[in-house]
Amino acid sequence: MDPTPSTAADSTAMESSRDRTPLGALGVAERTQADATPVEERDVVFDCQQVGVRYSGTRALRDVDLKIHSNAVTALIGPSGCGKSTFLRCLNRMNDLIPGAAVDGQIFYHGEELYQPQVDAIEVRKRIGMVFQKPNPFPKSIYDNIAFGPRVLGMKKDLDERIEQTLRRAALWDEVKDRLKEGALGLSGGQQQRLCIARALAVEPDVILMDEPCSALDPISTSAIEDLMLSLTNDYTVVIVTHNMQQAARVADMTAFFSVDQGETGTRCGVLIEVDRTERIFTNPAHERTEAYVTGRFG
């Protein structure tokens, strides 16, 4: 089983050897990372090749080639409507739930193609958790929110302990420890979002996807969640969509810039412009369109 998640304070423990059963045919490589390893040299968690998405035949995204490395925060930035959420939702097969959505290209998750027929989307989502733009706690107690994932996955042993550790990990324990049986909707927006992060952590995923997790929050809550994200990279791979470039600059090791290509017939389609280390994207991008966007000259 998994080592118990370390608390936010105890962030020196870098390695986390995970004993994971393979999704389908192939085994998932064990992860051992030294803190000093440059991001690009860490294990590749997602290797996306020519990924595209159509909604009811209309293309929303095409030709995304992107590698996402382990134990790092990768930010997806770009103007609204360029397909950031669409791409993120490909990574845990969330687009399967949208009638009419079709994904093309290939996404290798630890070497295993996510969209091959024998892969079970539910297995994928157990390993690749998701946090949404708007906090969406279940209308249940705080305890039941965190317990939901472990319960549906049959991880019922030591549930109380798991819940405490998860809440500590999400830096929420002290605020809620006396009201675990109270409704989660009584929490503030920022607390709700941290609860949603904790809920995702409770099933011991490998990757956490976050779609603009702070866009509905005040600056103090945002800062709390950013700190949390940074601490998560010790144990998890984080992919975050954000429209806030300062946020990308603050939290992300790698940044991918998406934009919209206007077809001659007026069709709009999202594309990946470039991906690089965050500081290079913001100081010395390879592509003009990136520069125009990060310097605010985007039209």
Binding site: N92, L97, I122, R125, N136, F138, K140, V152
Partner: protein, 311 residues
Amino acid sequence: MQATHPSSAPGGRPRLAATSRRLGERAIIGTLALAAGISVLVTVGIVIALLVPSIEFFAEISPAEFFGTATWAPLFEPPAFGVIPLIVGTLSTTLWACLICLPLGLGTAIYLSEYARPRVRQTVKPILEVLAGIPTVVLGYFALTVLTPTLRTLGWEVEIFNAFSAGVIIGVLLLPTVASLSEDAMTAVPRSLREGSFGLGANRFQVSTRVVVPAAISGIIASFVLAVSRAIGETTIVLLAAGQLARTSFWPGDSVMTMTAFIAGTGSGDVPTGSIEYKTIFAVGLTLFVITLILNIISIRLVRRFREVYE
């Protein structure tokens, strides 16, 4: 009244007094209050109309006899006024109706809202609505002339009139109501809650039963309550298919008389106004009303207790 000058006072500053727009609003509120008042008045009127003959009835027949004995023969000589057989008859047909319409209705709702593709949903929903629109007299004859003979062919020795056939067909009648109202409640559950649970690796069944149904529970219970009340109050089908034999039997193959069947059957006969038979009808009607009322109160409590409010 003041403020005929709506926009500004002599000083040039806007005035804060009511304008004509506010008066229009008041007229609307008044109309709405009137509508609400009329429905309250009608309800009170019905209750009084039930109460007055019932009180006269209980002046002649003691409540102890009415509620405490189990022989119902108000039109015979000597008459007997024990309402228990009618209550049992009603409970018996209602039980079968509920066993059909509550699980199947909820199952249909879960299927339609969580599993069915849009095309399937668009076909199934109109079919359900047609089912809800079949006149009860047709369903009653169906129970009597198709369902009961079929049960006998299958080797179950039910009586010609029996509680089971009537109850099952009432269940069929109410299934669309339960399915449709529950489905509405489930469709209203925000998509984000479903995504949140799918994102944790839950399967569709777990999402439906652990997130969507609990979040929609007040609407679902409301649909159940409506169905139970209507099963209790259903008249035509029981009159045609369950019979007119008042006896205290829960055996599904037995003929029973429900409270509604008594009221409709006796009321349509030749009963002189003011006679004890006439008052009996109201006493049974009042009993029916009180039972339904208690049921509604209990269910409102239940809904409050189990409601999971989203936002």
